[in-house]
């Protein structure tokens, strides 16, 4: 049903959407989309963990730790992400140990792994600031009330500060997650077979650049819309009745 339509479209109008009638290209497209989604999920997870840990470390009493966190944020926010990625993959990748795969050697961390590490660390540098701002937005009077009720510092953080801070930073977090999902396409440069890479190999095989470009744009528009929708639902779910109006 779908395949004949696109085949006819190719013959009559010259619009070659090969993945929709060619089983091999279809497989490649699905694989690319799947790896892209996987990559984005891993990157976001890494960046969130770094964000929470970093924001916590920023409240540390040690000046050295605070300086290191500040240095981390500034270095990764003020240098080109593509160079960061290349630095990690080629620079650090060259000195990481290799494992014997029975005859041939493979690096412990592959290109997918390095993309997750590099882009995750890049995104984390924004998340640290976002979480920190959220924590700062929790009124000190509210935590003081908890203190007066006998809450320990840990319980104050878990039951009062964190739930409120998370709500306060959701809008900024949504923006950063969307921007990270887009930045994940950089993994192309170290040949991670995600969507951009896959479609580019399809268009170099079939010489159908404009058509595949439309698919690529459509993929990202839909992906971003879905993430935005999901985050919006979360925001709505967590909204406090009567608060902030």
């Amino acid at each position: 049903m779908i395949a004949p339509f696109f085949e006819r479209l190719n013959k009559t109008a010259g619009l070659n959407f090969s993945p929709f009638y060619d089983a091999y290209d279809w497989g490649r497209l699905l694989e690319g989309m799947w790896i892209s989604v996987e990559l984005i999920a891993c990157i976001i997870a890494v960046s969130l963990v770094i964000g929470v840990v970093g924001a916590g470390a920023q409240t540390s009493k040690s000046r050295v730790i605070r300086f290191l966190i500040a240095a981390y944020i500034e270095i990764f926010r003020n240098t080109p992400p593509i160079v960061q990625l290349l630095f990690f993959y080629f620079g650090l990748g060259a000195i990481t140990p290799q494992v014997d795969m029975g005859g041939w050697y493979e690096p412990i961390i592959g290109s997918f792994g390095w993309a997750v590490i590099a882009i995750g660390i890049f995104g984390g540098s924004y998340n640290v600031e976002i979480f920190r701002s959220g924590i700062e937005a929790v009124p000190s009077t509210t935590t003081e009330a908890a203190e007066s009720l006998g809450f320990s510092n840990f319980k104050i953080f878990v039951y009062i500060t964190l739930p409120l801070a998370f709500r306060f930073c959701l809008p900024a977090l949504t923006n950063n997650i969307i921007s990270l999902a887009k930045t994940a396409s950089l993994a192309y440069v170290i040949a991670v077979p995600e969507i951009t890479y896959t479609l580019s190999s399809i268009w170099s095989d079939n010489v159908n650049v404009p058509e595949m470009m439309i698919l690529l744009f459509a993929y990202y528009i839909i992906l971003v819309a879905m993430i935005a929708k999901g985050m919006h639902l979360l925001e709505k779910r967590l909204a406090l009745p009567g608060y902030g109006q």
């Binding site: 009124p139 009077t141 509210t142 003081e144 009330a145 908890a146 203190e147 007066s148 009720l149 006998g150 809450f151 320990s152 319980k155 039951y159 009062i160 739930p163 409120l164 709500r167 406090l240 009745p241 009567g242 608060y243 902030g244 109006q245």
Partner: protein, 256 residues
């Protein structure tokens, strides 16, 4: 019930439940408390009055250790509050405090606000706590609001939730830090009625307040502070009716 054993002191109930001796507090170069002596007996209702910026709020906050003192001693049931070895939890369970800005937890419902501390901090049985919380909410005239969120309530209602929240810890002493200052006039009364009932039941209360009528009617003793010092103290009849110090006279002539 999981009340921990009382700390070892030679305190007996006939001694002051709260005793401040030469309490000083500085913020940088600014000395806010310049040697405060104050005592509260069990069951007493004490009002601290005085002009804005005279250190009243700082004073009341030193009692439960929220504001550390620079020098002097604050004892609650014979226990030094500003002692690093002090079990803060035991102290905080003994003393409830209500703030000017209510400071309810905005992400929890009214009932959860009241139940949180006994359940999480004292690890009390959830069902017992809920029962107590509901009856406390009924006492402050808030039955039916259990599932509302704080931001859906009026200021006066939020303040009464804050009172119930403190009471649910079954404190020995209640501190009130200008609890009506942020309220619209018509809501002031409903909060004061709640406090008056508490006082009538024999709860030990320390209030920082601008409500002179309330102070005169409900208090056992009044402390007048000015510029970080206690200028005058005594029964309300005496302080309001026959003030001795010139600063007290001037202040009262302005507010009454």
């Amino acid at each position: 019930m999981s009340r921990s054993a009382a700390p070892q002191t030679d305190w007996t109930p006939d001694q002051p439940i709260i005793a401040l001796k030469d309490v000083r507090k500085s913020f940088g170069h600014l000395e806010v408390l310049k040697g405060i002596d104050l005592h509260v007996m069990k069951g007493e209702v004490i009002c601290i009055i005085g002009p804005s910026g005279s250190g009243k709020s700082t004073l009341i906050r030193t009692i439960n250790g929220l504001t550390p003192v620079t020098a002097g001693s604050v004892k609650v049931e014979g226990q030094e509050v500003h002692d690093d070895k002090l079990d803060k939890l035991a102290l905080r369970r003994k003393i409830g405090i209500v703030f000017q800005q209510y400071n309810l937890f905005p992400h929890r419902t009214v009932l959860q606000n009241v139940m949180m501390a006994p359940v999480l901090v004292l690890h009390e049985n959830k069902r017992e706590v809920e029962e107590r919380a509901r009856s406390l909410l009924a006492k402050v005239q808030l039955s039916g609001k259990e599932d509302a969120y704080p931001a859906q309530l009026s200021g006066g209602q939020q303040q009464r939730v804050a009172i119930a929240r403190s009471l649910c810890m079954r404190p020995d002493v209640m501190l009130f830090d200008e609890v009506t200052a942020a309220l619209d006039p018509e809501m002031v009364k409903e909060v004061l009625v709640t406090i008056k009932e508490l006082a009538a039941e024999g709860m030990t209360c320390v209030l920082v307040t601008h409500e002179m009528g309330f102070a005169r009617e409900v208090c056992d003793r009044v402390y007048f502070t000015d510029a970080g010092l206690i200028v005058e103290s005594g029964p309300p009849k005496q302080v309001f009716g026959d003030p001795q110090d010139a600063r007290t006279k001037e202040f009262l002539s302005k507010v009454l």
